[in-house]
Amino acid sequence: MKYMLKKITTLIITLLLVSVVTFVAFSVIPGDPALAKLGTYATPERVEALREEMGLNKSLPERYIDWLQGAVHGDFGESYQYAGVPVSELINQRLQVTAILAVMSFIIILVIAIPMGIVSARKEGTWIDVFINLFTQVTMAIPAFFLGMVLTYFFGLTLKFFQPGKFVMPQENLGACIRYLIFPAVAIAIPKIAMVVKFLRNSVLSEVKKDYVRTAYSKGNRTKKVLYIHVFQNALIPVITFIAMVAAEILAGSIVVEQVFSVTGMGRLLVTAISNRDYPIVQAVVLYITVIVIVINFIVDILYQFVDPRVRTE
C-alpha cells in the first residue's frame, strides 16, 4: 500500500510537471496567437478584442490554470487552422486510429519477438543464434518509414493487397480500417522486434546462470523442463518493464509511418499542426502523448510489483 501511494504521488507530480512544461514552452514562442488567428483580417482593435476574449491579457500562471482546467475536461480551445473546430474533436477521432494501429503493432511485435528471443537464448552460440542476431541487427537498421514505402510498393502497388492512400476511418468501417492498418502496423513493428528479442535473450541467459537452475538440474530434471517451467517464468518478468518502452517506441514510430500510408491518426495531426504552427493542436497532442507514455509507465510499475513482489521491499 505504501508502495502504491508513493507511486501515485510520483505520478501526479510528474503529470503536473509535464503540463507546466508543455504550457510554458508553447506560451513563450514568439508570435501573437490572436494575430495568427485573425490573419489578414487583423486590425489593432480586433486583435485587442480577441486577446481579451482568448484570455491572453491575463498573467502566465492565470492562463495556465485556465488551460489546465480546460484540459482536464478535455477542452483545449480551438484550432487556428480549422477555424471554429474544437481541438478535442480533432484529437478524439484520430486517437482511436492511432490506438488501433499501436495495439496491432504491439501484438505483431510480441508474437514474433518472444519465440525468437527464447530460441536464440536456448541455442546460444549456434548458427541459429548468429542468424537471429544478424536478422535483428538488419531489421533494427531499417527506418520504419522506409520499410513502409517498401511495403507500399510490394503489397500495395505491385500485389494490390491494399490501396495506398485509401484509408477508411474506423467509424465508417472497422473491418476495412483494420485491414488497411495491417501493413502500417508491420512497418512499425519490424524495426522494434530486435529490441524485445535482445532483451529477452539476455534475460533468459542471466536467469539460466542462477543457483535455482543448477539445483533443478542436480535433482535430475531434464533441460527442456527446467527451461520451460522454471526459467521462462522468471525471465519474462523483466520483460514487463520493457513493455512501457516498447509502447513509447510504437507511438513514435506511428507518427512517421502514418505519414507514409496517409493514415489520419494523431501523428499526422501533429506533423500537419507543426508545419502550420497550429499551436493549440500541437500543445494538446504533445500533452496527450506524454500523458499516455507516463501512464503506461505507471501501470507497468504497478503490474511489475504484483508479478515480482521483491521490488516492494527494495
Binding site: T14, A25, F26, I29, V130, N133, Q137, V138, M140, A141, I142, P143, A144, F145, F146, M149, V150, T152, Y153, L157, A244, M245, A248, E249, L251, A252, G253, I255, V256, Q259, V260, L270, V271, A273, I274, S275, V282, V286, I289, T290, V293, I294, N297
Partner: protein, 268 residues
C-alpha cells in the same frame, strides 16, 4: 585455452562504415554528376551503366545526390554526438565524482527523458524552434547529453574507489587529472559503444524528421528529403526510394554492428 571466436559483428561493421565514410568524404568533393544537374531526357530513368542508381523526377543522378546527402546526414549525426559527448562527459564526470544534489537532479531528468523516444522529443523541440538543419542538431544534441552523461557517471563511480585511483590520489594527483588521465581512458570502450548508439539514433531521427519536412530544408541534400520526394514516384521509379533508403540502412547497420562488436569485445 579456448580459441578466440571471430568477432563478425566488428569486422562487418567496420567494413560497412568504411564504405559509408569513404562515399561521404568523396561525395563532399566529387560526385559522378552534379547533384543538382537536371536532364530532361532522363526523367525517372531506370538504373543504367552511366547512372547505376537511376535518375529522379528532374533527371538528376541519384548516386550523386546520395553521396551528397550522406554528408549532410553524417554531419548532423556527428555534431549531435559531439555535443552529447562534450557536455555529457563534463556533466557525467562532475555528478559521478562528486555526487550530491546535482547528481540527483541530473539522474531524475535522465529517467524522465529516457521514457520518451528521441524522434518524439525531437519533434517537440522542432515544434518550438522551427524546422531546419541547425535546429535538428541542437535538439538531438541536447537530447543525447543525459544518456551519455549516465554512461560516464556510472564508469566514474565504478572506478573511483579502485586501488589505482586511490594510489594516484595519494601521490597528489588533482581531481581533473584523476578523471581525465586515470579514469576516462578505462571507460573508452563503454563510451564508444554509447556514442555509436547515439550516432544511429541521430541518423534515424534526422532522416525521419527530414522525411516529415521538419528537418533539413531543400535545396540542401538529405537522404530523408530524397525519400519524401521519392514517395510520389514510387510506382514509376521505385529505385528513387530504394537506394537512398538502403543507404540509411547501411549507415545504421554499420554503426550498430560496431557497437555490438565492441560489447562482445568488452565482455571477454
Amino acid at each position: 585455452m579456448k580459441r578466440k571466436k571471430w568477432n563478425y559483428n566488428l569486422t562487418i561493421g567496420l567494413i560497412l562504415t568504411t564504405i559509408v565514410v569513404l562515399m561521404a568524404v568523396v561525395g563532399h568533393f566529387w560526385t559522378p554528376y552534379g547533384p543538382t544537374d537536371m536532364n530532361s531526357m532522363l526523367k525517372n530513368a531506370a538504373p543504367s551503366l552511366a547512372h547505376p542508381f537511376g535518375n529522379d523526377n528532374f533527371g538528376r543522378d541519384i548516386l550523386s545526390r546520395i553521396m551528397n546527402g550522406m554528408g549532410t546526414t553524417c554531419f548532423v549525426a556527428l555534431c549531435t554526438v559531439g555535443i552529447g559527448v562534450v557536455f555529457g562527459t563534463i556533466i557525467g564526470a562532475i555528478t559521478g565524482f562528486f555526487g550530491g544534489w546535482l547528481d540527483e537532479i541530473v539522474m531524475r531528468l535522465n529517467d524522465a527523458l529516457s521514457a520518451f523516444p528521441s524522434v518524439l522529443l525531437a519533434l517537440i523541440f522542432i515544434s518550438l524552434l522551427g524546422p531546419g538543419r541547425n535546429n535538428i542538431i541542437f535538439a538531438l544534441g541536447i537530447l543525447f547529453i543525459p544518456s551519455f552523461a549516465r554512461i560516464v557517471r556510472s564508469e566514474i563511480i565504478r572506478y573511483k574507489e579502485l586501488e589505482f585511483v586511490k594510489s594516484a590520489q595519494v601521490m597528489g594527483a588533482g581531481k581533473l587529472r584523476i578523471i581525465f588521465v586515470h579514469i576516462l581512458p578505462n571507460a573508452l570502450v563503454s563510451m564508444l559503444t554509447s556514442a555509436t548508439v547515439g550516432f544511429n539514433n541521430a541518423v534515424l531521427a534526422e532522416a525521419s524528421m527530414s522525411y516529415l519536412g521538419l528537418g533539413v530544408q531543400p535545396p540542401e541534400p538529405s537522404l530523408g528529403l530524397m525519400l519524401s520526394d521519392a514517395q510520389a514516384f514510387l510506382q514509376i521509379a521505385p529505385w528513387y526510394a530504394i537506394f537512398p533508403g538502403l543507404t540509411i540502412v547501411i549507415i545504421i547497420l554499420g554503426f550498430s554492428m560496431i557497437s555490438e562488436g565492441l560489447r562482445v569485445y568488452q565482455a571477454r
